[in-house]
Symmetry: D2
Subunit: 137 residues, 4 copies
């Protein structure tokens, strides 16, 4: 299973050269992640209030083709790896069938009591598993 | 008295047309405000922790000339009005003697106990007064 | 007639105090404006390439209630005034029937040949008129 | 040789959890890069006008500790690899001697005539070399 998210490249996304400023790709990836988590019934806002955290500990992006002002982009999201106390989300950015860019974000689970890395709670693991299409589950 | 703040227009500030995206002007105005407040010994971060708030209740900008990628901008900040429970900050944006834009932000004081508008604390009023160059003090 | 645009308040929209950073409201207003213009058949990206410009020459916002992380916001957009060489767009931001904020942006028309203010082209004026609900048309 | 760049973490940099939103780290890295390039006499803005491009083709970040509102951050920048038609910039983010995060950006050189990857011009290579502290020069 994968999860899809659609957005349009806006004027404020692009820079002087008329293409998306590279850091904006991470913002859109995180928007896709928020919608994905909400779809799983996981409310990031509520987690912040309870002290649970899934901070990004690593992020990377590969840019194959520029994302242009006015283009409609589809982000396809899956869980690339599901570790003991962290997981990796992979995002593919397409426009009209062309793969434009890829992003990865690695999220660690922080226990609210200790503010330290802790094993992923079983319910979180179970929610993410269907989107993990590799063998490392 | 006025307070000065300098910044450079970066690639991510400008849009497809090569000039600063209008909303970015407010971000730089707020950066100037944070530095100004710190200069007065007022730590916005600490205030957020204690529950004191000075939210922006009104903001406006006039754009006379575009701010261009690579330009160095000087922001001159003063207190335009100092009311009972709010104050107005006025910011002038110059490059090489030319006035490019003006911004105003109106900040209300929220009492931490009641989360409602309240008179400006005397120490805050006293800190701001020297930067208020009009007669309404 | 009015035009509606919906968005969700994301983690990157809110600041330390858990509410939308004031400058972000202008970004969302402009997103609503881009979608509105596209709905009228006016492609801002194409205009930038041909040299036509509708730069924001004035912007203002009134903040009545904070916009909170996770809220779904409806923006209702109309043309407040339709002048000879400029027009004013008014945006109302609602969540669950409550009016949270208002934004206004004033756009001037710049002629591509002269890079100077010029009368709005008749087709642009005609497209905007149905959304102008006041008597100044 | 390394190049240093200093900035303060502002209210608009941090999110609901009070720490820098991960994508903002890339924005500050790029600001450091712009200042570095200007220091070498390389004007990114002028390059955009002539059609020369050094687009980011890969970016990554490792987050060790959160960057907090109000902290002053020093970015130390060096050239990690200097390839035939691309180079990698490495950025270390410190506050008070603690290493908080690392960023890498890989820039490809695009020839203005062909809009395709091309060997780095000799002057660019020569400017970058002193900041390349590894053996792969």
């Amino acid at each position: 299973m994968t999860h899809s998210y659609v957005f349009d490249v806006r004027l404020h996304d692009v820079d002087h050269a008329g293409v998306m400023f590279f850091a904006r790709l991470f913002v859109h990836a995180h928007d896709a992640y928020e919608v994905f988590m909400a779809h799983l019934g996981l409310d990031l806002c509520a987690m912040i209030h309870t002290g649970e955290r899934l901070p990004v500990v690593h992020a990377s992006a590969d840019y194959f083709q520029p994302l242009r002002h006015g283009e409609q982009i589809t982000v396809t999201l899956e869980i690339e790896t599901l570790g003991t106390s962290s997981f990796t989300v992979a995002y593919a950015f397409h426009a009209s069938e062309s793969l434009l860019a890829k992003v990865r974000t690695v999220h660690a689970y922080l226990d609210p009591s200790f503010n330290a890395a802790a094993p992923l709670p079983p319910t979180l693991r179970q929610s993410l598993r269907p989107y993990c299409n590799t063998l490392n589950v």
